[in-house]
């Protein structure tokens, strides 16, 4: 189960950067469950927003030295 969830999460991450192999795609459609993908998608969206926020903080930190 954990393995399947992990695979779903990896697939969602791949979707975020627009990269996926045909083999994994077939696997997901044959073995995956929609709910797991939906939850992984929501989790990744939250992580993505947090990452953008963090990134802005990092850029702003550099800006202090730059300017």
């Amino acid at each position: 189960m954990i393995g399947k969830c992990f695979k779903a999460l990896v697939s969602v991450i791949c979707a975020f950067i627009g990269v996926q192999s045909a083999k994994n795609l077939r696997y997901d459609f044959e073995h995956g469950r929609a709910t797991v993908f939906a939850i992984a998608g929501i989790l990744m969206t939250i992580t993505f927003l947090a990452a953008i926020y963090g990134l802005v903080q990092v850029v702003m930190m550099y800006v202090q030295y730059w300017g």
Binding site: A22, L55, V63
Partner: protein, 364 residues
């Protein structure tokens, strides 16, 4: 052959290129140079990426061409390559965001200004109000009409000259509060790297700190109606002492104008003065000959207002006519100017009513 060679050589010569500037201005402020440097940095990053990507592409097209027996490979994906070409651009974008954010933050930092000026766009002129001084005036196009109508040769500052330039001190931080009175305009001085929309009901901010005294020219850069191309921006940067002198001159001029308003003028004086006011403030719409533009701007010649009751004539100039292009001129013209232009319109441009109005009547 000789012709082609001459042409090629002339293209390489420096003056030809000087006329052919297509890059941004470096400008005359620390901020404008910072913006220029950022622009060049991003530009060269794009050039390197472009050369690399197109280089690989054209090399592959040439090296693996069909005539050399190349056979296409059939495959669906290569995850590693795809990840690499997603991650690398992301890193480049983030790296570019650092200097870009630093420059943007400088551009938006309007704090601790030494001089604050409200810039208001009007159809088709600029108004400059110095918030800490009691200085408030309009800046109108000063290019002679004969140059516009091709009756005289055009001077180098054609359509880039005004009667009252904006005056600011050198080496002082000047903050601009930019807005508009009627439609959207945009205040642009390329050498300052300042271009801000002037929007009715909104105040946009910008700032400048010019190191060297000089005259810098710009234009309205948001299509704002018939005379959009006839409302230039001219900024005169003066040394600190010259600027202080200018400020005190403005105050003295204001006092002199207040004194003039109580004077009695003769018909000839008013008509002579009125002609100048008419050409600056009215001729843009009502035309220099007073004929107007049928269907758009009414004629002054023979108009019921300019030949009717003088009070109504004064009223429409002072308060404008809501719902039409006729502006209220009470903010733009002095009592003397209004008296002069009313008298001029009634006794020139084909009208001969024979009456006049004095500035003190306007003031009351």
């Amino acid at each position: 052959m000789t012709k082609a060679l001459t042409l090629a050589l002339s293209l390489l010569s420096a003056p030809a290129w000087a006329d052919w500037q297509i890059n941004m201005n470096k400008g005359v402020t620390a901020l404008s140079r910072e913006i220029f440097d950022l622009h060049m940095l991003i530009f060269w990053i794009c050039v390197v990426i472009g050369v690399a990507v197109f280089g690989v592409m054209f090399y592959s097209i040439f090296k693996f061409r069909k005539s050399k027996g190349a056979v296409s490979e059939h495959w669906h994906e290569n995850t590693t390559v795809e990840v690499v070409w997603t991650v690398i651009p992301s890193i480049i974008l983030i790296a570019m965001a650092i200097p870009a954010t630093a420059t943007l933050m400088d551009m938006y930092d309007t704090s601790e200004a030494d001089v604050e000026i409200q810039v208001t766009g009007y159809q088709w002129k600029w108004r400059y109000q110095y918030l800490d001084e009691d200085i408030d005036y309009f800046s109108n196009l000063a290019t002679p009409r004969e140059e516009i109508t091709n009756e005289a040769s055009k001077n180098p500052n054609y359509l880039l000259e005004v009667d009252n330039p904006l005056v600011i001190p050198a080496n002082k931080k000047v903050r601009f509060l930019i807005t508009a009175n009627d439609v959207i305009h945009s205040w642009w001085v390329p050498h300052f790297a300042v271009k801000k929309d002037a929007i009715p009901g909104f105040i946009n901010e910008s700032w400048v700190k010019v190191e060297e005294p000089g005259v810098y020219r710009g234009q309205c850069t948001e299509l704002c109606g018939k005379d959009h191309g006839f409302m230039p921006v001219v900024v005169e940067v003066k040394s600190e002492s010259d600027y202080q002198q200018w400020v005190s001159d403005q105050r003295a001029m204001k006092l002199a104008m207040a004194g003039e308003a109580s004077k009695e003028f003769s018909m000839d004086e008013l008509v002579a003065k009125g002609e100048g006011v008419y050409n600056t403030a009215c001729a843009g719409c009502h035309q220099p000959n007073g004929q107007g533009i049928p269907g758009a701007f009414p004629a002054i010649t023979g108009s019921t207002i300019a030949t009717g009751a003088i009070d109504a004539h004064v009223d429409i100039i002072v308060n404008g006519k809501p719902g039409t292009a006729m502006q209220a001129f009470k903010e733009q013209l002095s009592a003397v100017d209004i008296a002069a232009v009313v008298t001029y319109q009634r006794n020139a441009l084909g009208n001969s009513v024979g009456d006049l109005v004095q500035p003190n009547t306007i003031q009351n």
